[in-house]
Amino acid sequence: MIRDGFSINAKSIIGVMTLAAEQGCELVLRIDGIDESNASDELNELFESGFGEQ
């Protein structure tokens, strides 16, 4: 997960916290691995649905 050139491994919750990603900011997700296409679909869905908060 990348923000303004600063990248972290999204498996680490502390890493995600250090991104200080407030609502509405721009994030780049890089998905790499054997289940990458599935994971990318599901993440897309999660973002589209506003993390189930809307």
Partner: protein
Amino acid sequence: MPFLGDKHNESKSREEIILKGIPSSPGMALGKAYVIKPEVIIIPVIQIPADKISHEIARLEDGLHNMMNEIQTALDKVKNDSQNISAILETNLLILKDEFIISSIKERIKTGYSAESAVVQEYENQINFFKNSKDLVLKERSFELEHLKDKLLATIRKKITNHNIPENSVIVAQAITPTDVVNFKESKVAGIITEAGGIASHSALLARSFGIPSVIGVRDAHSLINIDCDIIIDGYAGLIHICPSNECIKEYEARKSKEDEHKRELGELINLNTETQDGIKIKLTANINSPDEVKEAVLFGCDGIGLVRTENLVMNLKRFPDEEEQYNWYKEITDRAYPNPVVLRAFDIGSDKYLEGLPHVELNPALGLRGIRFLLHREDIFSNQLRAFLRASVNKNLKIMLPMISSLNEIEHSKILLEKCKSELKEKDIPFDYKIPVGIMIETPSAALLAGKFAGEVDFFSIGTNDLTQYTLAVDRDNEFVTELYDTFHPSVLKLIKNIVDSAKSKKIPVSICGELAGHAAATNFLVGIGIDELSVPPVILLELKKRIRSLNFKKAKKTAKDIINCDSSSDLMKLLELI
């Protein structure tokens, strides 16, 4: 203001002491103090020989395991509560389980440090990162990591004290973790007082969810409060009375029984959602004039404060308050209402209310230098207020509202001033909400007609129906000769309201009503039917309004609203509104 009794006498005479903190969970309670002394664990940097490494790693794993178990136990206790509550505890669990931090702690042990030293070093790295953040929420996370770290250290050292807390205790602690709050709830504590601040913290959030009255940020609480002394905690105002006098107890009991009576009367209604029978949610917020009124609004279960008439501060003081006075007043309101949002309306003042700084006595103040016109005429006063708003916005629950807007350049001009105030604060390193929402009152026919344009420029609308009616119909309702012509249900007013709501919807910004029409029994059906998002009313009618909304059907209301809008005859309109 904290005022302390004479220190030399306090232990003997048990004089009453009043301390002021930040109100973080509403409610009142009287109980015996239960002081939890902080476990001071000093961790020296300890180097270990190579043959001890596997032993230290085992100690770390043991500590992690025990602490995860403890959180899991707390999770089981709240499984019947709301999802938000378990989500908080799960976050703590995720932090502990974070494989990156665990592996870096282990790496550090392998370079020859004890489990405790390694935990301290790795956690401190993360904590410092958050501590230096200007974002209040992230700063708050640094304290939570700190508490988690201390707990982990104590667990590794097996120094966790099991507290046997008697029922109805008032907990006094330096800081607490979310897991602690769950355990306190189980022990049926009466209230929680902490020295650490942070109304955005997860522990404060949990106390609110459980309805445990709580005051935080009370400096020196655990050294000033003796175990077993009586304490009254007032989670509305953020006050605690240590060893209260008999008078104080009497007053407390009177207030408490009134509060309980209210709660009984309102019964279940207070906890139910404000939604129509077919599930359309409406936000219910309160109009208030002072910090004290937040309490009543919260008691009646509001979703926030929809209007604070800040000009009351001017009228009470009989002069313009300085930035500091304003900041304190606004901060008090946003703290008390937290986490609910608060809309602070900039001074809506005209020569009918106040004369200082006005050029002359005006013949017709309602059409004169008032609201935004006065503020832009006196940029010094306006900037003071904007700076005070910004400073009070650190909790990110404050919204600014501009009164009496009638043209676009008033919005633009105000925004330029706001940006100027933001840079001034930035330069001085004073924190504020960078994205503070700015909305406008729509109360002139001009603004109602241009709402489509304005909606793209601001973050929300609030309709002031009293002025909108007076300006649309050209009727002064205080003038006895024309007062019967004043009609908020006039077809022209209703058409304007519809236009405002449609304009807001087209730009997807929220729209509320804060005028008298919002609470009018005959108007609810129409307002819900045209798709209003929020109704802001005096606290006392919040529940009555909620009851009415819950009896409506949105689809039916939508149809009736359509008929009302297409109706040009006043008598037909009265029938549709069920007024006759």
